[in-house]
Every structure is written in structure tokens, then in C-alpha cells.
Subunit: 389 residues, 4 copies
């Protein structure tokens, strides 16, 4: 690998920061990638969180003040994974410092924050900014996206995109910052999981014309740090019933984000059926893709069939892993970073790009529409999104 | 079988009329049923349709004029399966003639027709009237209903009821009376399939507070009898997103009726999940029921599990068929008639009753709300339904 | 239905006798069948078992002595469902009396008994004799059979046929005659279920060249009528690993009959895969058929796929039931009888015939080979079966 | 990570060598692992294969002569992934050189080779040697193993272990060294895939008493490098039907290794059912585990159920990855190395150990038995394996 060195800094040394550090170590698995990233700096306000990163040979800066990192000349790209209420300040600081950014969703705690970040982008056009969304990099999701984008499904009959969790079914699970409006945002689960479910639809150009939302706050208090119940005031489940215009017709699309969907540990799914074909993928079985077709039968006649195939290991960027092997979440993280860094250097080609700031910001407008819809009991129209390309 | 003889007449000698004739022949399969039905009369305006019934030994009257049948003293119960636009006139005539009635859905072509039939019922309180809905008699559906009705699922998180067909995906399929407003009704697929999907929710007391509807007319013309395209102006697919009040909380319920759902040949499904449990049944696999529970794991801890069990042959009314055997559609028809005739004689006991006229009429009010919702892009409130019992 | 009247007598008024009575009542569901069967006589040594049949209008003779039935001129066809140890005597008596016979499997308690019955057949060539096997009449099984028989699967890679039960997992289940050698036969579960699993393979011409058997008697005693444990000395599970010759090559086929297969309530399955295609059907989901094919992918390339289709209601003989509806066990019984009686009158055409006496007898030779194999720990060769046709 | 540095050398810079290099980069994902491995040397006879490894910073030696690597003081552990016919010479050289070894299966091309390697182990007791087998590290497999080993399943009714591939269904696929006896070994697919399928059964102490084998060589020639057909003389599919002794009883176990199983891209599966419970895991859906239990039903009674749970990301050694995320093949490689290196330092604890040389050697004795069984058409007895612990 003769790739160009890129120096990475992390702000927020939690779960996803460590996952990134591990993913960068696996970088040699990528075949002929133009970039060679190195984790060089990590910032976390909790000094103890920094300790974990001492094992990474390439790390040279550990700090509790992100301004120190931004002041460094030794950083090319910053990954930020912090509480939603901190997104706006930190993201705009990163951008203003001229560092490229892979930002965690939801890209600001609300629409105004997202707009503020977008303005920072506009003011620093040389800074490359994208938003994190790794689930579409599962091979089955990639195949589904290609099939849908090709138009081969014919007139779309229905579409569904969802990200479904279930651990909040446990009402004794302790409160955390993602379960409170102040730190998660008024959009609740839509802030948490929304971009996961919206990334592919938006990339397909399926910004909805209208949204009708069904929102649920099922568990309204949870044990606080000391066990005493405290308010749990965000939305647990959000189901958005949308109409999407597509040339001469429109079609229904349902986009779901749920923290309480019994039995769904980490289910990201995409299902689109049209008059000529259909495709389904779900991480409920991350190895399977289902393709709908009308098939001829022995002896004459035909039947409608869902065809099950095993997805292999190959996603957007080729790797050394044998094509028949099982793909996992950590592979998805690696693929997202491969595409992010390749796009940054203009070498992504036709591969699937990470989420664009406009896509991330669009999820906030959708959440605003959803909140208004839920409040008013009506479908809310959205202004047409400008095309991404 | 020492059951009381009941004489059955059929108006409409089509598919379902013949299915009933066959089901009555299988009556001895029922254990200790209080009634012994005999098919004695059949009416159809097409003389050639009557021919088929000549093979039934007990049939003594074949006529093209249903008034003749209603004038007979030899008929106790009439089953009517005719075009929707004929329901009101025939059903009210049957009732006025003092014959008991099992009516095909949708119980009138629209809400005024249904109200008219309800008035006839009120005017003839001695006449026993119910509406056809056989799918809830699949054993898996019966188990699901019992589990839900017991309250053991805890606070309901979400509910889904659906009846899904796919043959209309074939755009070359010829027009028929169910695909045109004049004969099927303005509610389209909701008239056709609505009671199938609403019967169990309504029986559970889940008349929705609000309905938001997404309606689709995808195939707008189809070949006529001579192959020339004619308008196909009814709704193909209807998805109703509802809120249901349940004591201190409400929950989302989706009720779907579709003629174009690729791959779904005849899928009736019911899925309800709550904070304490869940249950799923679908005729996509008519032998399986899935029950959600939190299960302990070996070595400690627990996991959320969907538990798959094989349903057997036993439904509402016991039969001589071995309990392990596979239940089919014709068994569902038999069970529905077993419960209809048992209820008529006051001997149903706690078993699942066939659809009540008020349930059938409620589907029209729901369709009216759905049409208004679709037109206005908003959730439409429904007046509280009076409790059935 | 202008079919020729055929008068049916039943010897053995238990579960299957009542199932037949119910099935005959449903006969009008068959379209244009050449025969019109009537149940006219029933024999059971338990007078109380006869009572149930009094409700059947056409029954004119109830007797505890089957010789009385055989002496009657009013019987054309006899169905016998009695204990295995009684097969030989009764079947040969029926045949000697010149009555046509549909015999329950295993067609004699052992190979000598089967041979004795075959001799009776040979001595009375005018008597039409077949053996009961209803599971292949499930529509999915019919489709699978047609695909396999067509040769389109290419060189066979592997075949599996099985009939799997699970209720004997309950070790407190009481003993019955099928669990003891004296009344069930030394072949145990192979006598009970063997023809179910062998019918289609034998029909395909797949009489094995060798058999290696793995037999299990897991539960060796069960509660007797008074609760005191008594010996349960038959085989619970039998798995036969066979080689089948097919022209230039041979292939492995596994044929399983199990009383203890946890979770399998009544699973009959057939799975055959070849180099050019494959097919799977199981009553675990009686509505689904899976077809293997290599399918082209969008954008180039191909993948191996199992294609899932919904089977409908139509089996060997057409019925009035709508094609999209669910098929059940009672439909399978009806189809078997439709084909049995049609073949008897020479009007079966290309439809799937019920099990031939030679097929039934072959299962005994297979059981003998299995017992020898299990005893000797070796594959046992079978003499080539004469072709059926 | 304050782990002890361990220097790794690779002999054989192909697919699995590169996979290891990538896995070692991801090492920081492991929580509190006692070892810190570094890839320092790579050997391949093809100089061009070495080029890929230049991107690994820690690599200091690239050589085409493995003796050079073995002569180095800078190597602690060697991983060898070469042709089967080279195993004996290289493995014994590595051991003689005092280097610890993780060897690819089948641990020698045949039983004598395996015995030779075992002797080398015995002669160098200070050398730590294990064999590669990563599939049991899928979390679902770990759960299944724990359940089975706990004894909670009760008397075992049946067991199945398999590794199933399908790409050889394509008869135009070119020959390679794994398809020829000279380089793959006379055991064919059993050499390739056998340890994958045998590792867990052997670990459970389930060395069979007898083996009856069904072997298939379906595709007997394949295109050579120049497209001209050359002999393809190894076994494609091997199915071993075994009896396993377990105290007072024995049970049937089937162990399958197949290159031609249509539709199975890379399916490793383990299914064990007993009288008290059961468990199934398959990489066909690597996220699902199925647990059999008898469950109580609402309203009384119980049913046999297969309970489906979502496996998470956590395997034998804990990682920083969130517990709900999807596990992939590369995670399995990492886990195997985590356990190999932890066992090497005596810090494995109760975690699942990589395959022991005696387990690897046992697969050769099983293959010998299988070949003899296939040849002789009989079950072949195996001498009791000495217990591993």
C-alpha cells in the first residue's frame, strides 16, 4: 500500500472512537486504497477515556481540550463522536480550523444547529465534510441499492427503510443522555437513528413530498445514576409514512426508527418492491438478500418468487477477504472510512459515498415535519430538496 | 350427530357458494355440533351456475329468482354471495322475509347501504344476521387472538393486521366487477378485503380513534371482456395507520388491504407486540405461530426471543381430525359455519363468533374515514364505536 | 356431478375412518370427477365406535364383524384402517371377497405379510388394490414431484425424504399399539411412517441399491393403561442412508422416519438438489415451495438462489376451491381418494396415483434391509426392484 | 494495552496470510488482552506475494526461503498456510526450530503426516502448537457450544455438524490444488473442511465409535490453467454418519463437508437436539441462534418451540465493539488468534481454545475410517480417542 498518509484525530473517545481506532488498524485489508490513514490524536474530556488509546502506536497527542487538537498542524481529518448538544459548537470549530470532518449523526441537535453547520461548510468550501452512516455498506445493502438505483424494479409499489432496536424494552435500563431532550434533542430516536434509515432513500432521490408521523414515548421515566427514576422524555419510536414523487406517479414509503421493537437487536432494513421486481435486505440476517421476480415454472406457467441469495464479503471497496465470507459491523465501519477517505481525495469513482451534509441536514427537516405532523395529526409537506448532485 | 336440522339456501352460486356446499358435506368432521345443516336451495341469475348444485342430494330448489327462495318455508338460513352493489337489496329482502342470514362482506357497497341493512336488522330483531370472515379461524389466528385478548402481552407497542394479495401485479389480468367503483364501491380494495383485516382488531375492542390512510390505484385500466382496455378505477392498495385508545395510553395499529403486494398469494396476518409479550401469525406459513418472550439463557442472562411453534388442526370447534394435522382454507370455512350456526342456536359458548353486523358496518365507517383522510392528507377521527357486547 | 356411484365400506372406525367419512362428504368440491362415492358400511369390533357413523345418511350397514360386510353385495370398495398385525388377514379376506381395497400402510406387519397380500392380489387380478399415502398430494409436493420427474434438475447431487413427528418426546405419553413390536411390527416407526417417506422416491424409480440404517429406540418404556410402565420396544427413529443408481452415476438419498424429532409436529419433507436445479417442500410450511436456480444479478454476474413461492390450493385433481387458498390435510385425503377412485375406473390420466401394492411391499424389504444393516453395521444391498410401470 | 509483545511470522503469503495481517492490525479491539502481537516476517516462494506485506509497518523480514525465517531470533510464533503436501515438512521444521506454531488444517496431507507432526510436538514439548479453526468463534456457535457442554440438553437425540460450500457447482470453475489428490490429499474435501466440522464435536468429547461414510466425486475433471480439462480426482462431498457413545447410551451424529451443496456459500452449522432441549446455529444466518424448549401456552398446555434470538458481537474474548452489532468472519479470525495467543501464555481461562494437534490428527483418523467405510460399504470402528484434557 503506497497510499498517501492521512492523519486522523478523534474527538470523543467512547465506543465509536475506539471502533474507529480498531478499524484503522485493519486498513491493509483494503485493496489498492489511495490513502493510508493514521490515528495521531485523540481528545476526550474524561482523561481516563484517553488511556485506552495509548496502545495505538501512531497516536502522538492525547488531550482533554479539543482546541489543542484543532491547533495542531499534525491533523488532516477529525472524527467527532460526542453528545448531540455539542455537535454544533465542535463541528463548526473543526470546520473553521480547516480540518476535514467525519461527523457523527445527527449532525447537530436540531435543524437550526444543522443549518449552522451547513453555513460553516459553505464558508469553508475547501473543507471536506461528511456524516457517519455505516449500515448501507453491508454487501446486501449495496446490492439492494444498486438494484433500486438501476430502475429495474419498475414503477415502485412500496418502500420501507428502518432501523430497529429493542434493548429499551427493558424498563429497568438506566437513563442515558440519548433518552433526554436536553442532550439528545426534541426529535428523540429520530436524532439517534434517523440518518441510518434515511441515508439510502435520500441517496435514491426519494426525499418525500409529505410526511405523516406516528411518534411514541412509551417509557417516560428510567432509573437515574442513583437508581431514582428521572424523566425519559424523548421519543422511543418514530414511524414516518411518506409519499414520494417519482416522475408521473408517487409511492408510499415508510421510514421507521425504533428503540422498542421487541426482538430486533440491531435491525437495519431496506425493502423496495416495484411492478417489475423487488429487493429486501435486513441485518436480521446480514448474509441474505432477497430478490423478487416472476419465475417460469416447470411444465408451464409462472409464479411470483422471493429469491434468497447469500451475500458475500465484498462491499463498496474491495478487500483481501475471500468473497464467500461473512461480513460484520466492523467491516461496515472500515468500508465507510474507505469511501470517506477515497472521496476526499477524489478517487471514490462510482462507489457509494458516505452521507453528505445536505443528507444529514435533510433528516432534521424530516424530523421537524414529523413533529409537526404528530402534533397536528396531518401529513406535512416538505419543500422539494435540491438534488444532491 | 343428533343435531337439529337447519335448511340452508344460497343466493349466488359462484365460487363461495360451491365452497359452502362442499363444506356442509364435511360437517360430520365436527364433534358434537348441535346443528345439522342441509343445503336445500340455490339461487343464481345464471341458470348454468345452478347446474353444479344438482349433485348435492339435499338440494330441492334451484331458481334464478331469489324471491322464490325467500318465499319458501323450507329455508331457515340464507347465505348470500353476490356483487357488492346488490347487497343492500338482497340482504334487506332476506331479513324482511324472516330468514337468518350469513352475508358476504362488505355488507353493502358503502356506509349508507350498511346502515340500511342494520336498520333492517333492528326492525327484525328475531332474525339472526352475521357476516362472513373465515381467516380468523386458522388455529394460529385463534391462538393469537386468545393471547392478545388475555392481556398477557402487557402495554401494546404496535399492532398490524393485513390481508395481502398479489395477482393484480399482472397488468394483463382482465377487469372484473371488483375492480370498478360502480360494482365494487368507492372503497375499492377496502370493500373487498377490509373485513378480513378488521374483524379481529374490532373484536378486540380496537376501533381506532384516528385513521390516516394511504390509498393507491396503481393499475388504472385493464383488458375488458373483448381485450380492449377499460377503466379500473378502484383502489388497489389501502394502508390505514391508526391510533387506538387503550385505557391510559394509545398505540399505533396498521391495517393493510392490498391487491398488489408482490409475492403474497393470500396472506392474512396479525402481529401484536407488547411490553410483556407478542404474537405473530400469518397464512404465509399457516402452520406456524410465533410468540415473543424474554427467555433465560444457559449460564445466566436472558435474551429476547421469537418462539416458533407448529399450529395443529384444532380451531374454534373441535373436529375428528388428528390434532397434529395441517389446517387449510376449507377447514376455515367449516369452522366459520360451525360457529355461525352454533351461535344462532345459543350454543357457541366462549368460542370465536363470526363477524357481527356492527363489525361489518364499522368497516364502512373506517373506509369513509380513510377516503376522507386520503383526500385531506390528515388523520380523521372516528366517533367511538359502541361496545359490541 | 354425474359420476358413477361407488359404495364404500370402512373396516376400522377410528380416526382415519372418520376422516374418510368426512372427506367423502366434501366430494362435490372435485371438478368433473367420474365417480360418486357413498359410504354405505362400517365395521368396528367396538360397537361404540360405530355410533359416530350413524350421522352419515348413506350408511346402511354397521357391524362388528367384517365378514358380514364382505358378504354384502352393496359394497364396491373397502378401506381398512386397523392394527398392523391384522392387516394380512383382513386385506387378504377383502381381496378374496372380490372387493377393491384401499389399505392403510404398512400393508402387513412385515415382509412375509406383505408378500402374502401381494399373492392375494395376484390371485385376484380383477381386484383393484392400493395403499394409503396422502402427503404427496400437498400441492407443493406435487410441484416438487413434477420437477424432479421431468429431469430438469440435472445430475442429482442429493435427495432427502422424511416424515418427522415429535410428540413422543414426551416420555409420559402413554403406550399404544404402535409402540410395541407385537402389534406394530419389528420395523417400528418404519412400519408406521415408512410408506409416507418412501412413496415419492419409489415412484421416481429411486429404489436404493444399498441401505445403511441408523435405528434408535430412545424411550424404552411408557405408562400402560394403568399408569404402570410397560415395555415400549419399537424403533422410535430410523434414518436410512441409501445409494440410488441413476444411469451412469449414483447419488446419496436419506430417508428418515422419526417419532422423536423435537419441534416437528407433522413434517413431511422432500428435498432434491441436482447440478441444474433443486426443489424443496416441507409441510413445516405447507404453503411454500422452494426452487433452486442460478439467477442473473443486476449489473452482471449470477448467484445461486433458493426461490420461494406460495403454493396454492390445486393438487392432482382440480377442485372448486380458489387457486390462491390454503391446502390442508383434509384436502390431501380428498385428493388421494379422488385419484384412487379415478385410477380404479381407468380415468386417472397423468395424475399422481396412490401407492401401488408393490411400492408398499417394497417398504418392507427396505425395513428388512435396514434392520440387517443396523444389526450388522454395514450397508445392505437390495435386489433391484422391478419397475412399477 | 500493556500486553507482552509477540512477534509473528507467516509462511504462505496468500489469502489467509493477508487476512491474519489485517486481523493483527485490529488487535486493539480486544479488551485487556495479555499479548500484543506484531507481524514481523513473511515468507512466500513467490516474491510477488511478498509485496503486499510491505505496507505492514512492523514487518522487517520478507523472504522466499522459510528456513531464513526459522533461523531468525526475531520470531516467536509462526503461522503456516501452505499446500497440504507441504505441511509435514514445514510444520516439523518450525517445531524443530523451537517456534510456536498456528498451523492451517488439515495438519498434514494424511494420517502419517499428522502423526509425524505429532511426534515433532512430542519431541519439542516446549513448543506451543495449535491448528486453525475459526468458525466456532462466531458468537452463536459459542452459545451453542456452551449449552451443549453444560449437559442441559439431556440425552442427546441427534447431532449434526457441517461445513457446506457451493462454488464447485460451477463445472467450469478452474482446477486448483485443492481439487487434486497429489496436493490436497486422498481425503479430498475432508482434508479441506474436515477440521471445521469436527472441531466442536471432538471438543465435546464426541469422538465417534463408528463411522459410515458416503463420499462423492461429482465433477471428475475441470479446466486446467490453459483451459484444457485435467483430472479433478478428490472427493467433492463427504457425509459421515457416526455413532457416538455417551455414557449409557449412544446417539447418531452426522458430519458433513461439501464443496457442492447448492445455495450454501459458506455455511458452517451445528445442530444438537436432546430430550430436554436443543440448539442450532448456522452461518447461513450468522446473527441467529435457535434454542429448542417446551414452552407454556397462554390458557394452559405447552408446545415445543424453536426460539430465535439475535446473537450479538461478543465471542470468546471481549472486544470494544458494541454488544448488539453484527459479527463477521474477520472477527472470527481475530478471536481465534486472541485465544491462541492467550492460551500460549497460560491466560486463556475458561475460554474456547483453538484446535489441539490431537484434534487435528483425529480428523485424519476419521478420514481414514471414512475412506475404508466407503470402500467397504460398512461402518468402521475407531479406537477410542484418549481424552484431550
Amino acid at each position: 500500500m503506497s497510499g498517501v498518509d492521512v492523519r486522523i484525530g478523534i474527538i470523543g473517545g467512547g465506543l465509536m472512537g475506539r471502533e474507529l481506532a480498531a478499524a484503522l488498524g485493519r486498513w491493509p485489508a483494503l485493496i489498492d486504497h489511495p490513502v493510508r490513514p493514521r490515528l495521531t490524536a485523540v481528545c476526550d474530556i474524561r482523561p481516563e477515556a484517553l488511556e485506552w488509546f495509548r496502545q495505538i502506536d501512531t497516536v502522538t497527542q492525547l488531550t482533554t481540550d479539543y482546541h489543542e487538537m484543532l491547533a495542531s498542524d499534525e491533523i488532516d481529518v477529525v472524527y467527532v463522536a460526542v453528545r448531540h448538544d455539542l455537535h454544533e459548537a465542535i463541528y463548526t470549530d473543526v470546520i473553521a480550523a480547516g480540518k476535514d470532518l467525519l461527523a457523527e449523526k445527527p449532525f447537530g441537535i436540531d435543524a437550526p444547529a444543522a443549518e449552522s453547520i451547513l453555513r460553516a461548510c459553505a464558508e469553508h468550501p475547501g473543507v471536506f465534510v461528511r456524516c457517519s452512516s455505516e449500515m448501507p455498506y453491508f454487501p446486501g445493502a449495496q446490492l439492494a441499492y444498486r438494484m433500486i438505483a438501476s430502475g429495474e424494479l419498475g414503477r415502485i409499489v412500496s418502500a420501507r427503510s428502518a432501523f430497529l432496536h429493542s434493548s429499551d424494552l427493558d424498563v429497568t435500563k438506566a437513563i442515558n443522555w440519548k433518552r433526554q431532550v436536553a442532550t439528545c434533542g426534541a426529535a428523540g430516536v429520530m436524532n439517534d437513528l434517523g440518518l441510518h434509515a434515511w441515508h439510502v432513500p435520500l441517496r435514491l432521490g426519494w426525499a418525500p413530498r409529505t410526511v405523516y408521523a406516528d411518534l411514541e414515548n412509551i417509557v417516560t421515566e428510567r432509573p437515574g445514576p442513583d437508581g431514582v427514576p428521572v424523566p425519559c422524555d424523548t421519543w422511543d419510536n418514530a414511524v414516518l409514512h411518506c409519499r414520494v414523487d417519482s416522475g408521473e406517479y408517487s409511492f408510499p414509503m415508510t421510514v421507521e426508527t425504533k428503540r422498542i421493537d421487541p426482538g430486533e437487536k440491531n435491525t437495519w432494513l431496506l425493502e423496495v418492491v416495484g411492478m417489475e421486481g423487488g429487493v429486501r435486505f435486513s441485518t436480521k440476517n446480514p448474509k441474505r438478500v432477497e430478490i423478487f421476480a416472476k419465475i417460469p415454472l416447470s411444465g408451464g406457467g409462472s409464479e411470483q418468487a422471493w429469491q434468497q441469495i447469500d451475500a458475500g464479503s465484498q462491499s463498496a471497496w474491495p478487500t483481501v477477504t475471500g468473497g464467500i465470507f461473512e461480513f460484520g459491523f466492523s467491516d461496515a465501519i472500515l468500508q465507510m472510512w474507505a469511501c470517506f477517505l477515497a472521496e476526499r481525495t477524489g478517487e471514490l469513482g462510482p462507489r457509494f459515498a458516505t452521507a453528505h451534509p445536505r443528507e444529514a441536514a435533510a433528516t432534521h427537516r424530516l424530523a421537524v415535519a414529523a413533529l409537526a405532523s404528530h402534533e397536528g395529526g396531518r401529513a406535512v409537506s416538505l419543500a422539494a430538496e435540491p438534488a444532491l448532485a
